[in-house]
Amino acid sequence: MQEVKRRYVVPGDKIVEGNFRPLMNVIKVDNSIIATRIGIAESGREGVKVIPLSGVYIPRVNDIVIGKITDHSSLSWEVDVNSCFSAHLPAQDVFGRDFSPARDDMGRQLATGDLIAARIIAFDRTRDPMLTIQDKDLGKIPRGELLKISPTRVPRLIGKRGSMIQTIEQATQTRILIGQNGIVVVMGRNLDGTKLAIRAIRMVEEEAHTANLTQRVKVLLNVPDTSQIDNTSVAQTQNSQKGEDIQSTIEEVEEEIEEGEKT
């Protein structure tokens, strides 16, 4: 019946008036929906939301993140997930139910400084995020080049159904892991490929809002422009797909971690 309407908003802007459901980055004041972030507002039948264009990473349950072990106590590891909350990975998650601090040496499994791909299993306003590495394709990341991008650029880097990241991976012969917290690990066969991939990722991050980005990335990577990959011409359309893309991030990360050696 009703089309999804999109427009640019800054905090405080009234998006719609009437009985709509507030979904993401909006508040309801009296009878109108107000944006709380800079971004693209989408109002449709299911509700009203704003896709943010800036901001730090705030954990959400079921996000796949890449984190660095910063410390461990006798029962859990502490993991830096590029957020204002440090995450915990319980030792039982790695050793199983019969973990005993006296018997098992935690440092043998994961040492301080190790990178892991993990899923957030619990997080709310009263507790720090809790991680698991028990799912398929999660666990220690053995090698690779680490870089940080803005978490709001993650869907753009992945592209529609993974188009952008696939382009970069194929052209540079690398594997790229992307966490929703904006941490990216590039694993390449050779230095040149890795360097090129990093340049492409940086370019996507800096020019995420511009049109014809996929094409320019292809020029950078020397890829002949074929129509098989959906080169979405305008950034807004890409941004507007973020909802979908967040889902694809998870799939993407799971796919990409195949090489990640499970510990």
């Binding site: 999109r6 427009r7 640019y8 800054v10 905090p11 405080g12 802007d13 009234k14 980055n25 508040i27 004041v29 107000i34 709380t36 972030r37 800079i38 971004g39 693209i40 943010p52 264009l53 800036s54 901001g55 730090v56 705030i58 204002c84 909350f85 440090s86 306003r125 009263t126 709001t152 809002h209 011409s233 305008v234 807004q236 359309t237």
Partner: protein, 250 residues
């Protein structure tokens, strides 16, 4: 001698022009650039007449020292600071009584616009550095800080816009500059949330009758609305370029 000269000097001439050539209802030229500090999560640079101010926002981030953290909401910390070279005689860089006060009122004027409950146990740090001061720097600082907060992607109910009004000679005027602040009768900085139509800061230095007070407040709010237009434009420019409307691609 000098004092006597000042009292003779008129702040508004016979043509109704002020010392810098503005009319009573005119704002100084305001220019805002968003995202000037790359290390910060959000930042803005404002030129409010001769004022030059940088605002940088960090966070939400971990609170240090940890005992400052609040279990139910985020702590907002503000630091207003004037550079030693911001005034004509060197300003001691140590925080003065005035700077401590402005840091506090700035925090209190920004807090109502932020949804701090969204980030429990975290902290947001706002740094406002005055590079060049020319009266009304707290208003310009609040204006820049609120844009920097929006740039940092912090959930906000509204943008905060600030502007002063005051009385010089016998006239109520908008946007007091340094000379008018020192030699005028009254100075009233106001911070305002334009959509919610709420005042978040109101200070008054000087004496006004109740009628003058109302006129002054109304005038300051008009000024805030003009400032809001500029803030909005600056944010739009950074994020969406020159496009103001989203092109629908179907």
């Amino acid at each position: 001698m000098n004092q006597a000269q000042n009292q003779i000097r008129k702040l508004i001439d016979e043509n109704g022009k002020r010392t810098d050539g503005r009319t009573a209802d005119e704002l100084r030229e305001v220019k805002i650039t968003v995202g000037v500090v790359k290390n910060a999560d959000g930042s803005a640079f404002i030129e409010f007449g001769k004022n030059k101010i940088v605002a940088a926002v960090y966070g939400p981030r971990e609170v240090h020292p940890k005992h400052m953290a609040l279990p139910d909401r985020c702590v907002l910390r503000c630091r207003y600071h004037m550079s030693p070279f911001s005034t004509d005689t060197r300003k001691n860089p140590a925080p003065s009584r005035r700077e401590v006060e402005i840091s506090k009122v700035m925090r209190e004027s920004l807090e109502p616009a932020l949804i701090l409950e969204d980030y429990p146990r975290a902290a947001i740090d706002v740094f406002v550095e005055v590079l060049q001061a020319d009266g009304g720097s707290r208003c310009a600082g609040i204006t820049a800080a609120s844009i920097a907060l929006a740039d940092a992607g912090i959930n906000m109910r509204d943008i905060v816009s600030a502007c002063a009004a005051g009385k010089i000679d016998d006239t109520i005027v908008l946007d007091i500059n340094d000379t008018e602040d020192k030699e005028g009768v009254a100075d009233m900085p106001v911070a305002y949330m334009p959509h919610l139509e709420q005042v978040t800061l109101l200070q008054l230095d000087g004496i006004l009758t109740p009628e003058q007070f109302n006129e002054c407040l109304d005038k300051a709010i008009v000024g805030c609305n003009i400032v809001y237009g500029i803030q909005r434009q600056a944010l739009m420019q950074k994020y969406f370029g020159n496009e103001t409307e989203l092109r629908e691609e179907q």
